[in-house]
Amino acid sequence: MTLDQQLKHTGTLVNYYFVCKRKLWLFAHQINFETESDTVALGRLLSEISYDRQKKEIKIDEMISIDWIDFRNKVIHEVKKSDKLEEAHLWQVKYYLYFLESKGVQGFRAEINYPKFHKRELIELIDSDREYLKEVIKEIEEILPRDEIPEKVRIPACRSCSYFEFCWV
């Protein structure tokens, strides 16, 4: 995997870790199902995350779109449509910062813009985040090779999850 692929891949894993462990496991076992709701879903099927080289942006689950990295000012720019920053998403962004650090690229922060709400939010990585992310990644690595599929638990996210039919049929 190239660096940016690895970044995207693990970013998704971190995101799913916070959403649902089962989703994490299914995704990591290449069990992806198409949702047939609309044509947007087809795009999502082709790659859960699409990386548009021209626009230099990373899209995840059509939920967030991160402008690629502004190296001069050391900022990851991100635009968000809704006003809520979910835990899964927050840690995903923090993971990007963590990842950059681990590659020796220091001093980055993230800026999340909510144009609809004239709001922006700064995200910085602090020591306790680093510790926590280390734990998270360790746990992800522990979950992935398991032979057994993690149990399903009905949560609000199920409703719009692409595994909904698989899990609940």
Partner: protein
């Protein structure tokens, strides 16, 4: 929403940018007059809206369009001049999971594990057959003898120990089931004598064969969307000629998708003698017949029911995909496979 495209006319499929063009030439059955009154048809279809393609006519495809359809994960099902299924262009798998493949195979090589799935397939199929008979028993009566016979066989089948035994019971049950068709079908033309396949020798056999191959192809399209490998099957012997997992799934859905359709189309006089061509040895649906049947078949696939556990409306076509999901969960060791049984 993606949907299947059925092409009956002769013509050509072309690609231009992200759009697929169906260029219809002349229909086989049309008179010269009809042909002249009609301008050349060209239909543009965005590729994202195509689920799969069924080709009945004489259609030209070049490698540019095949590559394009392959990249977009669109299977093409081919039928010959007589409407017999000839094969599928099954694009390179995009949903591959080594984990599932290993599990799928291990459930095949272990005779006990294989048998459990095979038995569940047959029992679901029998359940659906009985549903059909009971429905017509309520309407016309006169079927209770067939029903109790099949119920008994079904019970006896419970003691089978091998797939050969299962297949034996399945044969007996189908024989009885087909005999019952003569009580259901209200038409002289469509009397059931005995099931002949290759080639079908009368209209009813021709309809069954055509319908079954439509279910087969549809099931294959649904399997393609999952990580299951279509060549590894449980009830049917994995075969080099067919994607036999499709045959397994078709077994469960034929009573709902084909048999019910045949009964209602014949009894409502929607399918008639002039929809067939035949001589002494064989009989097949002509283009008009195929169009009529396929239209109704497609309607059937779009029919929705409220799913009891999902609590969402799902189409009959989606039911086939759900069956794949259940198989995946079974081979992953999560939940025992419980085949689709009509619940309405």
């Amino acid at each position: 929403m993606e949907k299947p495209f059925y092409i009956f006319s002769n013509g050509r499929i072309r690609r231009k940018d992200n759009t697929v063009f169906f260029e219809y030439g002349d229909s086989n059955d049309e008179s010269q007059e009809e042909k002249e009154s009609k301008p050349a048809n060209r239909r543009a279809v965005p590729v994202e809206t195509i689920d799969s393609i069924y080709l009945f006519g004489e259609v030209d495809l070049n490698n540019k369009v095949i590559n394009f359809l392959g990249q977009n994960h669109i299977p093409i099902h081919f039928f010959n001049y007589y409407g017999y299924y000839t094969g599928t262009f099954y694009p390179r798998e995009y949903a591959v999971s080594g984990h599932i493949l290993v599990k799928q195979v291990s459930h095949y090589v272990d005779p006990g594990l294989r048998f459990a799935i095979a038995q569940e397939i047959i029992q679901s199929s029998n359940h659906n057959i009985l549903k059909n008979l009971k429905y017509y028993e309520r309407r016309y009566g006169d079927l209770s003898g067939f029903i109790s016979h099949i119920e008994n066989k079904n019970r006896e089948m419970g003691s089978s120990r091998s797939i050969e035994e299962l297949m034996g019971f399945e044969g007996q049950i189908h024989k009885r089931y087909f005999e019952a068709w003569n009580k259901i079908l209200k038409s002289e033309t469509f009397l059931f004598d005995k099931r002949t396949r290759m080639p079908p020798d009368n209209p009813i056999n021709a309809l069954i064969s055509f319908g079954n191959s439509m279910v087969y192809a549809t099931a294959l399209s649904e399997i393609y969307k999952t990580q299951l490998n279509p060549a590894i099957s449980y009830l049917h012997q994995p075969s080099t000629k067919r994607f036999s997992l499709s045959l397994d799934l078709a077994e469960i859905f034929k009573p709902l998708l084909v048999d019910r359709l045949i009964f209602s189309m014949i009894n409502h006089n929607q399918i008639r003698e002039n929809h067939f061509e035949s001589n002494l040895e064989f009989c097949y649906l002509n283009e008009k017949g195929r169009r009529t049947f396929t239209e109704q078949f497609d309607e059937k696939l779009k029919t929705t029911v409220k799913h009891p556990s999902l609590k969402r409306n799902v189409s009959y076509r989606q039911l086939i995909k759900l069956e794949c999901y259940k198989l995946v969960k079974h081979i992953l060791g999560e939940e025992e496979f419980k085949g689709f049984r009509m619940w309405w």
